[in-house]
């Protein structure tokens, strides 16, 4: 299973656990399963269209990717707020 690392409010919403093991074939599938296991996460990373929110970055093994990127069992996924603001 892939290892998902969360921080900030996402960690709190996901049972206050910064690391989660999730089995999935793509980033979108992984995030949907995370929402299923932790319903409070619903709507915080993916919007209604299934698109990663504009100022959220998802990395697979350090590479910033989009929803359709493949995920392998040993991959490490980081979900981070983008460097933005005002």
């Amino acid at each position: 299973m892939a290892l998902v690392r969360l921080r900030g409010p996402l960690k709190r919403l996901a049972g206050d656990r910064s690391e989660q093991s999730v089995e999935a074939g793509t980033v979108c599938e992984l995030l949907r399963r995370l929402e299923h296991e932790h319903p409070a996460v619903d709507g915080w990373i993916l919007d209604e269209r299934g698109v990663i929110r504009r100022h959220i970055n998802v990395f697979v093994n350090g590479e910033c990717v989009r929803e359709d990127a493949p995920v392998a069992p040993d991959d490490r996924i980081d979900v981070l707020p983008a460097i933005s603001g005002g």
Partner: protein
């Protein structure tokens, strides 16, 4: 004691005090997050706020105590798998009268949510969402924002709404069907030959006179209007103002002929005209306007007040008015606009002001 809920670019500020001087900051919530709007549900006493995180998207939250834990409301979302995402919740409004305990929330892209449990859960109004004209709706500069929701006191079936830039929408059957009420509005920002048929009508703010509910007032994108037929048609009442461009509007509930606006110079110059901050008041339904600036900055003051930046508390001689600016000031009046004082000076850019009690 007056309570102001001030939504800002960097959180919600709860101010308390008596009119006449600076109010105290009693609480700050959602530090660092943009708070579009906050209100207190008069039926439950609960605070309900809309917050649009740049990272995590728009949410509605509720709490009994602003300094305590806020709960995320359920159901504030569009149908999954479609082509649209909820961008922002612009406003939250309570029904008027004992028979209407609903809360309504309006947002971008032109959506209405309703809550029957004091803001804990919400449901999308499908009739508006599925309206056949929706593909033709055009967003304004702030998005396709449903920003004004105007209940009819004592009749929860009748509701008016303003959408920028999709005009006025009316229901008489509790939101099961909707029709437009745009007769008389003139969109000066489109070519003359297109003005008759355009539906790109940029409503900036709507209010209803509760003692005469068929009377409504509107600040338009260039134009101030009055309706005497519950929002079906509109009469231009902007003559006599230094500019008929602006965003916020307020009324005195005791006087159906009253309205207050804060003109800005022009569409392309959205600051107070001539470097002077003035509120304009009518007490004859727009036949004439009176400048109300005593105590407001009158020199080198180029301020902007957004559409939800003006609110009132009380009525008649007890009418209090408050408005916040994008430069973080809040001004107040305890005498229906005759004189003004600084209620807060150094807040983040103010998005909304709600005077609650």
């Amino acid at each position: 004691m007056t309570e102001l809920l001030v939504g800002t670019k960097k959180g919600l500020f709860v101010l308390e005090g008596e009119p006449g001087g600076e109010l105290d900051v009693k609480a700050r919530a959602f530090a660092g997050e943009p708070v579009e709007y906050a209100m207190r549900d008069l039926h439950t006493g609960r605070l309900v706020a809309s917050v649009t995180s740049a990272f995590y998207g728009p949410k509605i939250w509720y709490a009994d105590d602003p300094s305590g834990e806020w709960e995320q409301a359920a159901g504030v979302t569009l149908p999954e798998g479609g082509e649209a995402a909820l961008e922002r919740i612009w406003t939250i409004v309570g029904g008027e009268g004992d028979g209407d305990r609903a809360l309504y929330a309006g947002g971008d892209p032109g959506v209405l949510f309703e809550s029957r449990d004091g803001g804990a859960s919400w449901e999308l109004n499908r009739a508006l969402w599925d309206h056949p004209t929706r593909p033709d709706w055009q967003p304004g500069g702030g998005g396709l924002c449903l920003h004004s929701i105007v209940p009819w006191p004592g009749d929860p079936d009748r509701l008016a709404m303003g959408i920028s830039a999709a005009g006025v929408w009316l229901t008489e059957d509790g939101g099961n069907t909707w029709h437009q009420g745009n007769e008389g509005l003139v969109a000066r920002y489109v070519p003359e030959e297109s003005r008759e048929e355009t539906t790109a009508l940029c409503i900036h703010r709507l209010h209803r006179a509760p003692r005469r509910p068929e009377r409504m007032f509107m600040q338009f994108h260039g134009g101030v209007y009055r309706s005497d037929d519950a929002g079906e048609s509109w009469i231009d009442i902007g003559a006599g103002l230094p500019s008929d461009f602006g965003f916020p509007l307020a009324i005195d509930p005791a006087d159906p002929d009253s309205a207050y606006v804060i003109p800005l110079s022009a569409d392309m110059d959205r600051v107070t005209p001539d470097g002077r901050v003035r509120v304009y008041e009518t007490r004859d339904a727009g036949e004439s306007w009176t400048e109300r600036g005593d105590g407001l900055p009158q020199e080198n003051a180029y301020l902007t007040v957004l559409r939800h930046g003006l609110d009132r508390r009380g009525e008649g001689r007890e009418l209090e008015l408050y408005f916040g600016t994008t430069t973080g000031e809040v001004f107040g009046s305890g005498d229906a606009g005759a004189s003004w004082f600084a209620a807060a000076k150094h807040l983040p850019p103010v998005y909304s002001v709600r005077a609650t009690r």
